[in-house]
Structures are given as structure tokens and as C-alpha cells.
């Protein structure tokens, strides 16, 4: 179990992470989502004791990361697959970690096999592709048979086959009672893998819940010939309206209510359907759009 409580990080006058709280339960995979620079990595680094938080605390299995006597045996961490010595072979990289974790060297070979790197075991990491380094990083994270995994952008640089492989591996890990948190800046990349989403933007948590909750059809999506006129008509009818980025509107009402209100005002509809998680997509678009980043 991973618990993050009111974590904040300030660098001088800029706040990278502000009052972030969430928990990751055993047996689940949590996607930690947000655009680049939203504070994902900073949060994960505070979680793993690399960056001291300005305030708040993070615990793994009830303990602060730095207080774990041999952290690799409790939690597997991969923060940057590219941060491996190019001059060592894949096998030597794992053997070094195995010695530190106090696991036999046969375990390193098993993990190479598990991530499909046995044929490349004796090649130097400098010759690995980013996808292969991700696999090596995952092998390193699994080396100590940890109960939890913390992976920063593990799908980055992986081909679709690799992503599907990783999905199977993580879902198996979670189904056996493991705790997983993985970050990504692409909703589509992790949507099929995770059970829960924690969405961060501008250093703050903007959404936190199960995938079903967050993607559930919340209200109705409607598009009209005259978006402004339709917006006014629906608002006048007492409905709560949220304009989306492409001229569509998300309305907290049934399709019938929206249709009646539009008909009463003589507005022509082009599209009317359940919003189907459009809110989350919209949230993402807002977070990742240049104007939001500049604000």
C-alpha cells in the first residue's frame, strides 16, 4: 500500500507539487496521469526519497521510503529507464542490483527471461533500444520480489506489442495482490491497463477515482449549429452547461431534457449523445493545451 499525504514541493517561489494526497491499494493498478511538467515525476521522486518534500509525507507499507532497510525488497522502482550505465551488460546491471538486494544471481537470469531479454543479456546497455531499457528497468524493479511497483512512464519508447506485454505483466502482478502505480502523459496509453486514475495538473490533483467513475457518461454531449445560441438556450432552461474545446457542450441533464430545451428555443442540433467520459478527455485537453500550460 502506498500512501501520499498532503505532499508539496516548492523550488524557491515556484510550486512544483501542491498538497497532493492519494492512496494506492494492494491488488490495484493506479495510473498517475498528467501532462509533462505537471508534477508527476516530482511526486514519484518524493515518494522514493530522492527529493525531500517541502511538506507532507509519503509512506510505503506504512514506512517512509528512506526508513526501509532494503527498499528494493519492498518496492520496485523505475524512474528513468534511460538512466543505466551504457558500459555494463544487461545481466551485469541486474547482478549488481541482485547483490545489493541480497537475492541470488539466478534471480537476475529469471528476471531477464521474464522480460524477454535473455538473448540480449550479454550485450551492453548502450546498444539497447529505449524499449529494451524499459524492459531491463522493469526486470530490475521486479528483482527483489517487491509487493509494490512505482514506474515512471514505463510505456515510453515501447512498441504496441511491448505495451500489451507490460499490461499483462502488471495485471498479473496486481491480481496476485501487488500494488502498482505508473505514470503517463497519455490517457490512451494506460486506459486499458489501470483500475484507477489519479490525474495531476499544475502540481494539483484534479481527478481521483476508479476508471469507471471517471470515464462514466457524466451527462450529455450536445453539438449545435450555433454553439453560443444553444449554450444560452440551455442555460436559460436552467441546465448546467460546460463548453468543450471543439464547440460541443457537456450538459448535466438527460438527452431528452437537452432536446426539449433546444427545441423550445428553436436551436438546430447536430449531435446529441451520452458524454461517455468526454469530461475526462476535455480535462486532459485543457491540461495539455499550450494555453493551459502558459496560464
Amino acid at each position: 500500500m502506498i500512501t501520499v499525504e498532503n505532499l508539496s514541493k516548492r523550488y524557491g517561489s515556484t510550486t512544483a507539487v501542491s498538497d497532493v494526497s492519494f492512496t494506492v491499494e494492494p491488488g490495484s493498478i493506479t495510473g498517475f496521469l498528467g501532462p509533462n511538467g505537471a508534477g508527476k515525476s516530482t511526486t514519484l521522486r518524493m515518494l522514493t526519497g530522492l527529493t525531500p518534500p517541502s511538506s507532507g509525507r509519503a509512506t510505503i507499507a506504512g514506512k517512509k521510503y528512506a526508513d526501509l532497510p532494503n527498499p528494493g525488497r519492498v518496492v520496485g522502482v523505475m524512474l528513468d529507464a534511460a538512466a543505466q550505465h551504457p558500459g555494463r551488460t544487461g545481466r551485469e546491471t541486474l547482478l549488481l542490483n541482485a547483490a545489493l538486494l541480497g537475492v541470488p544471481s539466478t534471480r537476475a537470469d529469471e528476471m531477464l527471461e521474464a522480460v524477454g531479454l535473455t538473448p540480449a543479456a550479454k550485450r551492453r546497455v548502450g546498444q539497447y533500444s529505449l524499449g529494451m531499457r524499459q524492459r531491463l528497468g522493469i526486470a530490475a524493479a521486479l528483482l527483489g520480489d517487491p509487493a509494490a511497483l512505482i514506474l515512471d512512464e514505463p510505456a515510453n519508447g515501447m512498441d504496441p506489442e511491448g505495451i500489451r506485454w507490460m499490461r499483462g505483466l502488471l495485471q498479473d502482478f496486481a491480481s496476485r495482490g501487488g500494488t502498482v502505480i505508473l505514470s503517463s502523459h497519455l490517457l490512451g496509453e494506460v486506459q486499458a491497463t489501470v483500475d484507477r486514475l489519479v490525474v495531476i495538473g499544475g502540481g494539483r490533483i484534479v481527478a481521483d477515482g476508479s476508471l469507471e467513475e471517471l470515464l462514466a457518461g457524466s451527462g450529455t454531449l450536445v453539438r449545435g449549429l450555433d454553439p453560443n445560441g444553444l449554450n444560452q438556450a440551455l442555460t436559460a432552461a436552467g441546465l448546467s452547461v460546460e463548453p468543450l474545446y471543439d464547440g460541443a457542450l457537456r450538459v448535466d441533464a438527460t438527452a431528452e431534457q437537452v432536446g426539449r430545451a433546444a427545441a423550445a428555443a428553436g436551436q438546430i442540433l447536430l449531435e446529441l449523445r451520452e458524454s461517455d467520459g468526454a469530461g475526462l478527455e476535455e480535462l486532459f485537453f485543457q491540461l495539455t493545451s499550450p494555453t493551459a500550460a502558459a496560464a
Binding site: 550505465h85 541480497g102 541470488p104
Partner: protein, 271 residues
């Protein structure tokens, strides 16, 4: 939905047993002893090509110097002193680079990220690096000493004048002491400045600059900060009554950078 019922069992893969129900074959988790950290640091410094080349290069330099000495035999008895001096000049100059790189390479190669995630108590890791660098340089120096011994014996029989091993112990003690101090100083500079090239440059330039500029600026008071003078006196194992000067120079150039380096690297942001 009859169709779904027929096809669905395929997707339901056999779920693995809960991890609590599976007895792990791995030994129980223990903390990381300091000895283990030192062993791992030693392994890290020899399991990359750059690390091996550095060590082999240093030894090649010693061999080259001995070969020159053997092909330019001077008259009289061949003394171990002179052979050790020839073999170890380059070695002693380059060994501190092992110290510097022990501290910097993790930061330049970005492996510090893994190292400090697996061992969050950074000061222990850094101290293990100091110990590992000292051990490694002692090994390299010992190989050099063996080469020098062989060179002396060979020179003695080649020249026909015989070999002399007078002052053997003293020469060795001096060489090991200065090497250890030099390597610690290199490691300390590497800990303060995490960039390999910059750290090596500062390590070589700063004390030399002081040795050259100090006397002009501060007359004999410059001795207080002349680390090479201090090394020389320690190598001779005769401080010439300059105990406070020697201690001050060591304190400023070795102890202070070590403390600052440990502090800095324990707080440095791991990128």
C-alpha cells in the same frame, strides 16, 4: 447473450496465486551492510570498459617507465628506490582520478538514480565509495610495487652490478600513505563537483596554482596551505617540525572537501 457465454472462458486466464499464499524462494530481506556496499562499489569501478581501461592504462604507464629505466641502465647497484620512483610517478599522478571517478561517474552516467533509490542512506554509499577507491588504488599500487621489485631484480642482473633494496620499508610506507591521501583528496573533489572533467581539472589545477602563487603572495605563510609540501613531508615521514602547517594543509585540502562533498552529494538533486 449466449455468444458471450460460449467465448468468454478463453479470456479468463488462470489468475496467479496471491503473493501472500506463495512461499518465496528468495532469502529474507536484510539491510545492506557497509561491507556489502564497499564490495559493490569495487565491482562497479571494474565492471565497465572505462573503469578497466583506466586501471590498465595506469599499470601500462608503470610498465613503460620501468622499461625505459631498464633500457637506460645507470652505473652501479640498481636501487629499488629509483625503480619504485620511476614506476610510481605516473601511477601516483593518475590514481586520484580513480577517486574522482568513483564519486562523479554515477552522476554523469545518471546511475545515481538507481543507486540512491536502492540505498537511500546516501552518506553510507558515499563513504563506501571512498573506501572502495582507497582499496582499489592500494591494489594498483601493490601491482606497481611488484613490477618495481621485478624491475630492480632484472636491472641488477642485466647491469651485473646487483640490486639494492635499501630503504624498502620506508619507500613503501611513503608511497602508500601519499597515494591514500591523494585518492581521498580526489574523491573529495569528485564529491563536491559531480562533473568528472571539471572535478579532475580543479583537482589538478587548484593545488598547483596555490603552490605556484602562494609563496609569491604570502611568503613562507603559504606553507600552511601547500598540500604538495605536506604530502612530501608525509612521504618522507619527517614533518620537519611543521606539524601545524601539515595538519592545516591536509585539513583544508582533504578533510574540508570531504565533509563538504558528503554534505553536498547527500542533498544533491538526482536527475
Amino acid at each position: 447473450m449466449a455468444v458471450t457465454e460460449i467465448t468468454s472462458p478463453v479470456a479468463a486466464a488462470v489468475p496467479g496465486k496471491h503473493r501472500a499464499a506463495v512461499a518465496t524462494s528468495l532469502p529474507p530481506a536484510r539491510g545492506q551492510s557497509f561491507l556489502k556496499l564497499v564490495t559493490i562499489e569495487l565491482r562497479k569501478s571494474v565492471n565497465t570498459r572505462s573503469g578497466r581501461f583506466l586501471i590498465l592504462g595506469i599499470l601500462a604507464l608503470a610498465l613503460a617507465a620501468l622499461t625505459w629505466q631498464l633500457t637506460h641502465l645507470n652505473d652501479g647497484k640498481q636501487t629499488f628506490d629509483s625503480y619504485l620512483a620511476a614506476a610510481s610517478t605516473g601511477v601516483m599522478l593518475l590514481l586520484p582520478v580513480i577517486g574522482v571517478m568513483a564519486m562523479t561517474s554515477e552522476w554523469t552516467q545518471r546511475t545515481a538514480l538507481t543507486t540512491f533509490t536502492l540505498s537511500p542512506r546516501r552518506i553510507r554509499v558515499q563513504l563506501a565509495k571512498f573506501v572502495s577507491a582507497i582499496l582499489l588504488s592500494v591494489v594498483v599500487l601493490s601491482v606497481t610495487v611488484v613490477l618495481a621489485l621485478a624491475g630492480t631484480a632484472l636491472g641488477g642482473s642485466l647491469s651485473g652490478d646487483g640490486a639494492s633494496y635499501a630503504g624498502f620499508g620506508g619507500a613503501l610506507a611513503g608511497a602508500y600513505l601519499t597515494t591514500a591521501l591523494n585518492v581521498v583528496m580526489g574523491a573529495a573533489f569528485g564529491a563536491v563537483i559531480a562533473q568528472t572533467a571539471v572535478a579532475i581539472l580543479v583537482f589538478f589545477v587548484a593545488p598547483t596554482a596555490w603552490t605556484l602563487a602562494g609563496p609569491a603572495l604570502f611568503k613562507s605563510n603559504a606553507d600552511w596551505l601547500d598540500v604538495f609540501g605536506a604530502f612530501g613531508r608525509i612521504a618522507e615521514r619527517d614533518l620537519h617540525g611543521m606539524v601545524p602547517e601539515t595538519l592545516t594543509a591536509i585539513g583544508i585540502w582533504i578533510v574540508l572537501p570531504t565533509i563538504v562533498g558528503l554534505w553536498a552529494s547527500s542533498r544533491r538533486e538526482v536527475k
